[in-house]
Amino acid sequence: MTLLIGGYFLYVMLAAEDKSELLIGEASHGHFQIELACSSCHTDAFGGGEVLQNACVNCHGEELKTARDSHPKKKFTDPRNANLLEVLDARYCVSCHTEHQKEQTHPMGLTIAGDYCFHCHIDIGKDRPSHKDLAFDSCASAGCHNFHDNRALFEDFLVANAGGHWLGAVAELVTANHAGKNAPAVVPGPRVDATAQVARHPQIQQQWSLSGHAQAGVDCAGCHSDDDGDWLEKPALAQCQSCHGQEAQGFLAGKHGMRLAAGLPALQPKMSALPFKQDALTAEHGCTGCHAAHEFDTRVAAVEACLSCHDDSHSRAFPQSPHGQLTQRALQGEISWGQAVTCATCHMPRIVHDKPEAAVDVASLGAAAERAVISVEHNQNAMLRPNEKMIRPVCMSCHSLEFSIDALADENLINNNFKGKPQKHIPSIDWAIKRAQ
């Protein structure tokens, strides 16, 4: 009997397509979409901690590097930290982010108590009198510090960007130009003769003629040719990424595309625990899920596409919010589209290559705007959590640092999509200035 049971599970582990019987618990909100693509993390059936660590780094390493990770593994490998590692082995991601423990998983995928900073920084009150009576679990939860990404929160940055009115002029954001600057001059591969299809679909040709593809000279055959030069009815990610590689890379790394990256069928909203609209629950999430085919109107993809699925309070409040009103005015032609603040402006922002924390408004970029390569970050998670990631590339184009920090720490304000002022104040800038004086 033991052999039979063992043999069955060995079969499931090594050969069966459906591995759900091996799940030891539901995966966290970060990984639930790919919990049945076991080999995404368990790259070796016989691997131990290093295998898992490599899997974490394989997906998240580059992001941490970009974030100038404040606590990289290399900070903990010196033997002088041996006693600290006995309390919290920060060399391994799973020490704080254990998977398959959904019921014990906190925001940021944390599976340990919120006082983890305290173990190493127990003496901070001696050097920073302002920190003396702070709660042990408040370091990374109060809007002052993050464990990994502190690019908008470190002391010198706080001092350098202190002051200023909470709202400056509405910024004019630059237009993304990555695909235009980097797309191949000729779409690679054999091209189909699309004459017959063009004749049959005059309406589609009309939609295409107003699109960016038409302006760039990418015609029907540019997307509808398969590898053999035959007509491809439904172009998919592979065709899009031949010109939009950067965008595809971000899409596959984020929540919208991670299932496709793991070789699973596309995401459908019904798979998620987040609130989505009933009529969108089975919508499949590929490139054309947001970028409606043929028109490829980025203005639609930036708002309408998001709101056709997302049905949480933040999303529902958007149309009436100050940001939503700006978008409405831009759609009506009262202000430029560069001044619109859409869902994508914050969650899939334009970023400057090699300077992901730089603001992308015309005024901030100055002369560099001409030569800068700007792409749209299609990994919606890249700026989402912790939300202070948005401060430099997004919020500070229009708002002061102080307002940005306060607003992003105010959950009610986030829920009503920033309709009003923050009801709480994070004192980090005040304390930083006091120390600098």
Binding site: R68, K75, T77, P79, R80, A82, D127, D156, F157, A436
Partner: protein, 190 residues
């Protein structure tokens, strides 16, 4: 499994060799090993401080900006202590045969204060006995180390002015040629 088999094979070979009366292999003396490592580290650290930071920084031609947050600036470059630490971190990714760090009993970043009894004794010894090194053994976790502590001396005006003026520095009267801290090198013995 493969690793276990290789280890077992090596163990058998070693026992066999000892049994045959082969002379026990003697490696390099840890002190000579760490002294040599320190010589390289000191030379590189001094050169970076004098030839890059002092020469090209604000005290020289002012074409680079040495700054703790050097990544913020197009012409930003690492402070000498950061450069040293970056080297230590890069070495740690290449080998487990030794580790090193820069510490001080007057650290700007308190994480660089001595932690272990040997570090404390060593840093205090080299500060009180300029020119001397300190050697000891200590067990951290389940490993015993040969630990050497070498003086880190102010070689340039850039060192003293930065440390004397920094708001987090516990000492503001460093002078050229004075011991500002120590380089701690560890070699695992077991």
């Amino acid at each position: 499994m493969k690793k276990t088999l290789i280890s077992a094979a090596l163990a058998v070979s070693v026992v066999g060799m000892v049994g045959c009366g082969e002379p026990e292999k003697v490696g390099i003396d840890p002190k000579i090993y760490t002294d040599s490592l320190f010589a390289v580290m000191k030379a590189d650290r001094t050169n970076y401080t004098k030839l890059v930071v002092a020469r090209l920084g604000p005290g020289g031609s002012n074409v680079v900006k040495p700054d703790e947050h050097w990544e913020e600036y197009e012409n930003g470059t690492l402070l000498p202590a950061q450069m040293f630490r970056a080297g230590a971190e890069a070495v740690a990714e290449l080998t487990d045969d030794f580790t090193y760090s820069l510490q001080s009993i007057w650290p700007i970043n308190k994480q660089n204060a001595p932690k272990t009894p040997v570090e404390k004794a060593g840093l205090e010894y080299i500060a009180a006995n300029p020119g001397d090194n300190y050697y000891g053994e200590e067990t951290l976790g389940d490993t015993t180390y040969f630990t050497a502590v070498y003086p880190d001396v102010a070689v340039s005006e850039a060192c003293t002015s930065c440390h004397n003026e920094h708001k987090d520095s516990p000492k503001d009267d460093f002078a050229l040629g004075e011991v500002m801290g120590g380089v701690v090198i560890r070699v695992p013995l077991n």
